[in-house]
């Protein structure tokens, strides 16, 4: 993928962002900018359709795309929510369970290689000074992969590989950002859901759904995503590890904004694309 030289006489340069930096996701309820540190953590966003999950995912994708030390792997069962970032991503997986599994197996192999590298260097986690890229995997509509596409065996394998990536990817600088509508046990097992350090509950129709996302008992303590206005997409209750849910609103990126960001990121990354044949040496289990 190459493009013409800039006609303006200036060459776009990367904005010097890093995935180790705090990521701006929006505003908190006091009007202050709200940031999360995604490195060494994972983010799960859930809520009813139109609640703003994809907006949150696009915000994270934008930061990852503009970060110099970052690589993106995108899984989008709807094809369009993250589709505009396909030029930036090392791999963009649409509604194709077979390709999703292949890509997850590749990520698993990378993760194991990174752990072997860490062990060889007698270390426990990837640090910024290591010079390794942060591989951010973003999944939109997990439920389609885990319950709709493919055979039952493929769905189980997808969930098993996703669980492995979520569980072990943190220290290897391979965070996961995922979105689904209702992370009930038929979509994501509870053991997997609890591995997500950040959980964002967008608008829900019942306190039970809110508790499924945030954790048991939060609605009883006054933190229920049912209180979020249905006409205010993007607002969510976001809980961090060991913290209290905070009311935030995700930044909104229009299609034009995403095209501009993705185009800029694609230009600055034009020499970083993968050249190897994906999945050539990986056997599907």
């Amino acid at each position: 993928m190459t493009g013409p030289e800039p006609s303006t006489g200036t060459i776009p340069v990367g904005p010097m962002l890093s995935m180790y930096d705090p990521i701006h996701v929006g505003s908190d309820e006091f009007g202050q900018a709200f940031y999360i540190r995604l490195i060494y953590k994972n983010l799960l966003a859930a809520g009813e359709p139109g609640g703003g999950k994809s907006g949150l995912l696009n915000t994270v994708a934008a930061h990852a795309a503009l970060s110099a030390d970052s690589r993106l792997v995108l899984f989008d069962a709807k094809d369009v929510e993250l589709g505009m970032w396909d030029e930036v991503a090392d791999e963009f997986v649409g509604p194709d369970i077979g390709r999703a599994i292949i890509t997850l197996l590749r990520l698993q192999k990378v993760m194991e290689n990174r752990y072997a590298w860490l062990r060889a260097h007698r270390r426990r986690k990837i640090e910024p000074a290591d010079g390794l890229s942060v591989i951010t995997s973003i999944f939109d509509e997990i439920a389609v992969f885990s319950t709709v596409l493919g055979t039952e065996q493929e769905q189980r394998q997808f969930v098993a590989l996703l669980r492995d990536l979520v569980a072990r990817g943190r220290a290897a600088a391979m965070p996961v950002v995922a979105a689904t509508q209702r992370p009930s046990v038929d979509i994501i097992p509870k053991s997997l859901r609890d591995l997500f350090g950040y959980r964002a509950a967008c608008r829900c129709t019942s306190t039970g759904s809110s508790d499924i996302i945030l954790g048991d008992g939060w609605s009883g303590a006054g933190y229920s995503a049912t209180d979020i206005s249905p006409v205010n997409p993007g607002e969510a209750l976001l809980i961090a590890e060991g913290g209290i849910p905070q009311r935030v609103k995700a930044a909104y990126l229009s299609d034009a904004d995403i095209r501009a960001l993705a185009g800029y990121a694609a230009w600055t990354r034009r020499n970083q694309r993968l050249t190897t044949a994906p999945g050539a040496a990986i056997a599907v289990a």
């Binding site: 009007g31 769905q155 189980r156 097992p189």
Partner: protein, 310 residues
């Protein structure tokens, strides 16, 4: 000196109760204890130090006098603490009012009436005409109001300790949604006492909601109250990333894939799709099928069983 509450109040007979009698009694008793303890300790320490240079009897007398002075000072501070606290509560208003009165008197002594009127018009008119200044004054005014409303909350329905001592309401500053107030709690109060009464606090402060949180990770007495009067989450939040990119970036050449044309149902024939028999999501029935015939269940990377996940 009976009174109806713990703050300033008129009694209708020409007197004003600043601190109610039970609270004053409690502080007087505490002040006496502080006075004697400080006196004795200071006297002993001062006499010990002075004895190294002076005659022991003179050193003892000097220690007693020194202890008396320090004990009295400490006792007076303790006894006057409710008054000091009230002065602290009203310090901004006192300073503002004093400044205005003093300024007006100085202006009257040195200028003519037209100049005074012009100065008054400028002081009032300029902030009223400039929106940011007006908004800032509005916010600061609400901060002053909120401090007094929170004091009223503590006085009316939050106090739980035996002596009825009020917390120290430290300072307030505007936030985009209202005001944020820092409070130093006294023994007998805790953050939960505030969390249980947030609805009442919001009503007392004429706000939409109130939030309480710890202001210090190491001291539970230091808490923070957020008074919300506006909701800022209804607007559109823009991403700062848009400011980091420059327009005019050359567009990359996309791989041109074939664009589908069958975009309505009549354009997709039934013969073009392959029906998929839905797979029941059930556990394999080991009693009916041999174990060797069933597909092996995938295992997670850490080896744990995942058969109960889906």
């Amino acid at each position: 000196m009976p009174s109806s509450n713990r703050g300033f109040s008129g009694r209708g007979n020409g007197t004003i109760t600043v601190i109610e009698e039970p609270v004053m009694r409690s502080y007087r008793r505490r002040a006496k204890v502080v006075f004697y303890v400080t006196w004795v300790i200071t006297a002993v320490l001062a006499a010990t130090v002075a004895a190294s240079r002076w005659h022991p009897i003179i050193a003892l007398l000097a220690g007693i006098i020194c202890g008396y002075i320090l004990g009295a000072a400490a006792g007076v501070i303790v006894a006057a603490w409710p008054v000091i606290r009230a002065i602290w509560w009203w310090t901004p208003e006192t300073l503002i009012t004093g400044s205005l009165v003093y300024g007006w008197i100085e202006l009257a002594d040195h200028t003519t009436l037209p100049v005074r009127l012009a100065a008054t018009a400028a002081i009032v008119g300029i902030p009223a005409a400039i929106k940011p200044v007006r908004a800032r004054i509005h916010q600061v005014t609400w901060c002053l109001v909120t401090r007094h409303r929170i004091r009223t909350c503590f006085s009316e329905f939050i106090i739980t300790n035996r002596t009825g001592s009020l917390p120290l309401i430290l300072w307030a500053r505007p936030t985009p949604v209202g005001e944020r107030v820092w409070i130093w709690l006294r023994p007998g109060l805790c953050l939960d006492d505030l969390l249980d009464r947030l609805d009442k606090i919001a009503v007392a402060c004429w706000a939409t909601a109130a939030l309480a949180d710890a202001a210090s990770a190491s001291n539970a007495a230091f808490v923070r109250l957020d008074i919300k009067r506006r909701d800022v989450l209804t607007g559109t939040i823009t991403s700062p990333l848009l400011d980091m990119i420059k327009s005019g970036t050359p567009a990359s050449q996309r791989d041109t894939a074939e664009i589908p044309t069958a975009l309505d149902l009549p354009q997709v024939a039934a013969s073009e799709v392959t029906p998929i028999r839905p797979t029941p999501l059930k556990r394999p029935d080991h009693s009916k099928a041999p174990a060797s015939a069933s597909p092996p269940a995938p295992a997670a990377a850490d080896g744990s069983d995942i058969t109960d996940w889906i």
